[in-house]
Amino acid sequence: MKKKLLSAIAFVVIGFYTKAQSIIGIDVSSYQGTINWTQVKAAGVTFAWAKATEGLTVTDAQYANNAVNGVAAGVYMGAYHFAHPDTHTTTAQAIAEANYFLSVAQPYIISCEMPPVLDYEVSSSLSWPAQAAWIQSWMNTVKTATGITPILYTDGSIANSLASSSLASYCKLWIATDNGSATTIPPSPLPPTPSAYDQGLWNPNWSFNQYSWTTTVSGISGQIDADIFNGTLTDLTNLMVCTPPVCHTYYASFPYSNSFENTWVTDSCANIAQRLPDIYWKSSIGGTTPNGDDYWHREDYTGSDWTSVTTGSYTPAGSVGNHSARFHNDPPPAGSTGALDLYINLSASGTKNVQFDYMHNEASVSPFTFDVLLSTDGGNTFSAPLLTITSAQVSSWTTQTFTTNATSATSVFRFIATDKGSHDVGIDNLSITAGSTTDIANITGNAYQVTVYPNPNTGEFIIAVNDASKKVSVDVYNNIGQFIKHEEAKTGENTIHITDLSEGVYFANVFVDGIKTGTQKILVIK
């Protein structure tokens, strides 16, 4: 009897210990819709990977929401990329897929993040050594950019077929094998250890096991994939990289525009959220006794590094849309500066027009400077100011323009301010475009002589094509790429009359007989 009792106690203790050690996670994508991460966390989920990208063009519609809301709920989050070695067969394309993943996920890869994952499950016609090289190229690119070694997600067949590669000593394995365990979280009973075959080259050192494809959990509609970590919670947190990711530089394509409407992204150089308009920008402070107030943010920023933010006025909040980029600087250490740098590839030949709206509703502040500088060597050295604004009061948004003939692929525009006053400095509605399309004159384009007039205008203008026998249509986009309207000319007519556009910069794609003939820039000034 005693023996039986002791056995029962041992069974319970061992069972409890085993359960206490089971670290359970899930992996999700837009197929799960909007997720209640608070409920997911409460259900016992410790970690999760959210799909970020696929191939070279697909961004998961829920990735940003999942990345932000999962972390907010206390779930250790990571991002995964769905590889397409079937259609992108070269290592150069593997690197391109990695860069596409980084362009989407890196702003959300923060300190103490689950390592990024390469989801390698699509069959490829490549040889196994070539597939190993493909995987290695993707991983090297992501590791160089983030400082974190990614994890490989795959199945037993592939894990075995990669046996001649060195991947097992390079990255950890997340193995997919639905072995019939319970479809609940936590699983009961615990899933068995993946077989030696399924672990392949990594045997016996698997790290994660996707043990179910049909699990349900509170907070998510439908069935999901469930995963278990091969270790303790301490092991898991040791696996995560809890130092700021390596800073990375991305160059925007030319032409470029930004009216600062979107939520700003994480500064991966400093690991600070909402500090950069998008991944093409960097931020820095300098001068005398710089502090957090000297960083630029979107004008409605509420983070702790801005103090006394309601001192003085800053209205209207933007010249176009609802938001703008704002240099706060209050309280004002005299002489400290804030710089906001745009990295852009200007290798296209020809003159570039730079245009933005500016506001600083305060007169005779000292010290005060506002300059725009240009670097053609990736930000190592900067020119003398291309544009300087003095301390004169600019009480409402006012358009500023200048041109440059720079052709460097590693150009950097620096917007830098010093301000001691109580009214902040703002910029908005930035556009960098080819000089030939920004001239304030009528526009003639391509073989069909597309004409836009008047330009600039007050919101009403005409697009004409010199051939009434053709079917003419136009798609109008605003300067952040949002579709505004589609208009078609009536049969037998060659003009389109556009009305009711609000002030701002627009781009019109003109189509003749369904073929795009070019893009015309349109400036609306009320």
């Binding site: 992996d27 209640n36 499950e121 699509v122 067949s157 509170s218 907070g219 439908g222 069935q223």
Partner: protein, 115 residues
């Protein structure tokens, strides 16, 4: 007391269905092709749509499937390669499926279409 029980039942029903329910989709079509899928699973190409037929995880042979009983023989093992059972070729079926985290369209059941 009865009202309290009713309210509790309603709360439980709502809570248990709000998130745990599985959204089911349907498609009608002819099985055009059978091919291997990731992790030992199988793909049935139904017209232009790829549906995943999950193997029964409790059967370690990998030769039985998570499908309604009358279609358990939908695939036949021919020396390690699974082919469509000829009796299901060129016939129109209704497939119900759910989409999992990887975007796999996992078949839940197959049925004939009544004309």
């Amino acid at each position: 007391m009865k009202i309290a029980s009713l309210v509790l039942s309603l709360v439980f029903f709502t809570a248990s269905h709000m998130f745990a329910q599985t959204e089911t989709n349907t498609i009608n079509g002819v099985i055009k092709e059978v091919k291997p899928h990731f992790a030992g699973q199988h793909t049935l190409v139904v017209d232009e749509t790829e549906l995943v037929l999950l193997t029964n995880p409790k059967d370690k042979t990998g030769k039985s499937f998570e499908i309604n009983e009358e279609y358990k023989d939908i695939l036949l093992d021919r020396k390690g390669t699974f082919i469509l059972n000829p009796k299901y070729a060129n016939k129109l079926f209704k497939f119900t499926y759910t989409v999992n985290g990887k975007g796999w369209k996992c078949i839940k059941s197959i049925s004939t279409i009544k004309k």
